[in-house]
Structures are given as structure tokens and as C-alpha cells.
Symmetry: C2
Subunit: 349 residues, 2 copies
């Protein structure tokens, strides 16, 4: 082909690209198989997390609370082994307690930042509403207390088979109501990731339903904000996210057990469908490989459309909640620095 005809071919190819006829609309986009390299644009710690294989057992799907219990216990045992070291590195103190009958851990940093003296954070752990009982609830709360210099109350809420929807939410609200007796709502923040990220959004919505004062600020990490399997990254990041792996995996199965037949589209299970008018300032965290990236950005959009202060941070290459997996990682430190700064800016003193 001579230069002239090559140029004409190029020109017509590009001219064609702006004309899309309706009949060309496909029902879906076929994407071929590919191998994704470990990106060089993240820290060595995050590279290690990205290079890990898909979570073993991601497609093992217990069907009842009784079936989940030993799964949760086994998983918790492994996590709890790492907790003492984390507590030491973060230089915090942990006391087991109850608040109005709800099991909690009070996590106190060696030094509470001066601005945080009259502030309290409530932490709701993740784990698909069925995992991370007892001290396995602690890692995010310990990191938040340590990195941010906040007092944190970690809620070890009831889960199947002990109790079902809305038990976890109720336990969170019980603690919030108790803290409200001694602390201004604007000085109270709540933080959680995954199911915990959904629970803190649900708590904000529930506070509105109950006529309670709105919290000061909320940190929702990669929230399970839509458990009806709606959301584009449920598809684009399927088998790319090495933690959750698939919308049809273990986490969905756990949520269905917790919901116990309740409508999954209820904003108290899928908070993206809630009314965010008057909601608290909210910081959202996700990653580019996160199966719940859509769940995260959709909540961000809804909050902004409701006129709410809402800050989104998305980490390069991260699958679901990688930022909770290695407290030495620069990405983890950056995530908690943003969250601490956001609480610092928006909570009352």
C-alpha cells in the first residue's frame, strides 16, 4: 500500500469512529483471556498482596449460620494469632467489655492526639456479616487507633448462627446510643470496611430513621453497599480481585445467610439505595482491582448528589480491602492518614 492510500485508510477509520449506529449496540462486551502482570506502580508490600493467588475457598459457599460458624472460627483463629503483634506495633491498649449488653473492645492509643480528647470512633468490622468474631474484629480498629490517635470502640456484633439481620446493625446502634449519652454526636465517628463499610452507612441511615442526631463523620472502606449483584466491577473485576474474587463467591453467600430472607435491596442491607439527605461527611476507600469499586463510587456519587461532603480515595492495583492486610505498607499508612485527616477535619472537638 502506498503512503497516499495508507493515509486515506487511516482517515476513514478514524472518521468512522464517531458514528455509532444504534443497531451496533451490543448486549455485552466480549473480553478475551489475559494475564495481568503485577504492577510496578505500587509498593513492594502491595506487590506481594497483588501477587497472592485467589483466596482459597472463595467458591466454598456455606448455606446456614451453623455451617458458617466453624468457618468463621477457623478464620478467626488464624487472624487472632497476628493481633498481639499488631497491638504492639500500633502501641495501643485493648480492653474487652460490654456496652448495654453488646460485646465490644475498647482500643486506646498510648497517646490520644490533643484534638481527639473529646472524640470517639465506633468500629464495625468486616467479614460478610458472618466472619471475624471476637479478637478477629480488631485489626482495623487497632490500626485506626494507632495511626490516628483516636479512642476506638470495636463492636464484636452478633452474627449467624447467634443472630440474623438486623442484629449487627442493632448492636452498632446500641453502642452509638450509649456513646451519645456522654458525647456530642458531632464528636462521634464510625469506621468500617466491607460488611463493616456497609454497616457504618446503614448506621447513618438508621440514625435518620430513628430521629437520632447525625454522626460527625463516617469512614466506609470498600462498602458492600449493593448486595443485589448490581454494579459494573462485579463483572469487570471478577477473578481480578484476589480477595472477594466473584459476586457469586463466599461473601455473597454469607450475606444471604445473615439477611435470612429479608429483601436484599433494603437500604439497611444495600445502603446505596438509601436517601442520603442530611448524611454525615463520608470518606470512601477502594482500589482499582476491587470487586466493590462500583459499590464504592456509586455511594460517592449518591452522597455528592445529595450535597454531602464526600471524599473518595482509590488505590492503584488494590483488591478488596488490601489496605487492612499489612500495616507496614505505605498504601496502608496513606489510607489511614487520609481517614485520620478526614475525621480531624469534620469531627467536632
Amino acid at each position: 500500500m502506498n503512503t497516499q492510500s495508507r493515509i486515506l485508510r487511516l482517515a476513514s477509520a478514524v472518521a468512522a469512529c464517531v458514528l455509532v449506529s444504534p443497531s451496533a449496540f451490543a448486549q455485552g462486551l466480549d473480553v478475551p483471556a489475559r494475564t495481568l502482570p503485577v504492577p510496578q506502580s505500587v509498593s513492594p508490600q502491595e506487590q506481594k498482596l497483588i501477587a497472592a493467588p485467589l483466596r482459597p475457598g472463595w467458591n466454598v459457599l456455606p448455606k446456614t449460620g451453623e455451617e458458617w460458624k466453624p468457618v468463621a472460627d477457623a478464620g478467626a483463629e488464624a487472624i487472632i494469632k497476628g493481633v498481639p503483634g499488631l497491638i504492639e506495633r500500633m502501641n495501643v491498649k485493648v480492653e474487652k467489655s460490654t456496652i448495654d449488653g453488646v460485646r465490644v473492645f475498647i482500643v486506646t492509643p498510648a497517646t490520644i492526639a490533643p484534638a481527639n480528647q473529646n472524640r470517639v470512633l465506633i468500629h464495625m468490622h468486616g467479614g460478610c456479616y458472618v466472619l471475624n468474631p471476637r479478637e478477629a474484629a480488631l485489626p482495623e480498629a487497632v490500626m485506626m487507633a494507632g495511626f490516628g490517635g483516636f479512642k476506638v470502640i470495636a463492636v464484636d456484633y452478633r452474627m449467624p448462627p447467634e443472630a440474623y439481620f438486623p442484629a449487627a446493625l442493632d448492636d452498632g446502634m446500641t453502642v452509638y446510643k450509649s456513646v451519645l449519652k456522654t458525647t456530642n454526636a458531632k464528636n462521634i465517628g464510625i469506621i468500617g470496611t466491607s460488611a463493616g463499610g456497609a454497616l457504618v452507612l446503614e448506621m447513618g441511615l438508621r440514625a435518620k430513621q430513628l430521629g437520632l442526631p447525625m454522626l460527625g463523620a463516617i469512614a466506609a472502606g470498600t462498602p458492600m453497599s449493593d448486595v443485589t449483584k448490581v454494579g459494573d466491577t462485579f463483572y469487570t473485576n471478577e477473578l481480578v480481585d484476589n480477595v472477594l474474587v466473584s459476586r457469586d463467591g463466599f461473601c455473597d453467600a454469607g450475606t444471604v445467610v445473615y439477611a435470612a430472607g429479608h429483601d436484599l435491596k433494603d437500604p439497611l442491607l444495600s445502603p446505596v439505595y438509601g436517601d442520603f439527605t442530611g448524611f454525615a461527611p463520608t470518606i470512601l476507600t477502594s482500589g482499582t482491582r476491587d470487586l466493590l469499586l462500583s459499590n464504592t463510587v456509586r455511594v460517592h456519587r449518591k452522597l455528592r448528589d445529595a450535597g454531602i461532603e464526600a471524599f473518595l480515595q482509590v488505590f492503584e492495583g488494590m483488591s478488596h480491602a488490601h489496605y487492612l492486610r499489612d500495616d507496614t505498607s505505605p498504601e496502608t499508612k496513606a489510607a489511614f492518614a487520609e481517614i485520620s485527616g478526614f475525621f480531624g477535619k469534620h469531627l467536632g472537638q
Copy 2:
């Protein structure tokens, strides 16, 4: 299998998942072929854009400025056809002019918002440094003027084969320096998408190099902030983004022609490698299917790590710069509302 042994199998599967031996680290993640449905979580307008086939000619790769020219002309012709209607819907006036020898369009909305009377935005168009000459440079500038009520100077900067790196950047800086004669730097914002998103970041970095005052605020849409092919979504969103399609596609080819042998890692071509100390407040826009989502979030992280006000918005399901394709789309309106609000908050008056 009885219930007891099923439970034990589940428990051991989950227990195993927290133990990852270093030898298990793969060199890459194999992802099977899949069909991505059009998500229901976006507007009908955005569904139409998502359902469009991959950009025809995405893998046609002109190799010289002379080869790009007819491609750019043909593409521009198609875009320019839509400009009069857009100007009418946005209710703006467009005047062709030059500023110190640089070709520009002055875009003035029918009503300049009172707060914006002493503010000016400079617009740098996209198109891989080789596309969208003349009035094809206008769509984003017209939307910004119309949706935001700002006066916008759209720069029709020099491109190959007329001129090569750093001509586009130089033209932007010439306009900035001219506007500085009559307008406080803090009242000047710059906006651009794709190559334009990179150019506005490059302008901020160049202002520092030249000892010019820093701009008031910057809006960088899905910036080509790393043209060295580093970035995880170059891989995860390859053949998923229906606009750019691939890191080895037309856009990369255009940039290489513009760079004309200059080091692609120079922050004036890959601004993610720049020093953002003292940078302007910056708003960044991307989408979950965007090939440049990593390019976008990496700049966000760098800005935040440098202590800069930086706001990230990521739209559900969007490929590269879909928000410029349909001014009737709710997502487009939301994107420009955020950008207008950000300029409103950070620009001086």
C-alpha cells in the same frame, strides 16, 4: 458427605486462606475470557455509550505527523458537525482569536455567574497530542462555559506535523502568561481531559519550573499522566475501555509522534513523575472502565502525599472520557457540576 465433614472441609478451606507462602506468588494473574453486560446502574445515555463497540481504528497506528494530519482532519470534521448544536444548547458565544500568536477560541456564556466575573479558565483539549484541531477542540470548553458559567479560553495548540513537543505545552503557557497580565493567578483555572488532562498537569509543573505564580485550581480529566505504559488499569481495563481500548493503541502512537524522541518519562510528558509540592488544588475525573483509571488515581495519591487539596470522582461503568460524549447525560452534568463547584470553592474572586 455428611454435615460434619462438610463443615470441617469449609473450615479448613477458610483457615488456609490466610496463609500465603512466598513461593505461591505468581508472576501474573490469569483471567479467563468473559462477556461484560451493560450495567443497569448508570443512566440510559451512559448505557448507550457503554454498549458501543470498541472504537473502530483503535489499532491503526500512524507513525509520523504527516500521517496523523489527515486522520486528525477527518476526525475533526465529524466532531465539528456537532459543535453548533452544542453551542446552542449550552447558550454560549464562541469567538476565534489569537493570544500572542497562539490560536484560541474565547467561549463566553450568556450569563457569567456573579462569583465568576473576575475568573478565567484556560482549556487544553484532548486527542493524544495529535487529534482535535480547530473547532474540534471546543466541546469540553463549551460545556465548561455553559454548565459552569465561566469565561473559557480554549487553546487550539500546535500539533504534529506543524510542531512537536513541547509545542502544545508552550502554547498553553503563552496563554497563561498573557492572562496573568490582567488576572490574578489565583483567579485562573485550567481544565483539560486526556492529553488535555496531562497538559494542565504539565502546565502546573511548568509554572513551577519557570517561577510563575501557581494557578488557582486545575481540573484534570482522566489525564495521560503516564505515557510509559506503567499503570495497572492499562492491563485490567484493556479491551474493556471502548474508547482508548489498549495501551498499544492509537493514543499511545500519537503521543510517541508528538514526543519526537523526547524521554517519555519527563514529567512534562508523564506528569505523574513530577514533584507536586506547592501545586494547585486539583480535581480529577475518571471511570471504572477507564484505561487511564490508574493514571488518574496515581496522580491523586501523589497530590495528596504532597499535601495538596485534591478531589477524585470516578464514574460507574465509564470508559475514557465518556463524560464528554453526551451533554444530556446525567453523568456529564454531575461531572461538570463537581468541576464547577471545585473551581467555585478554590478560585479567587
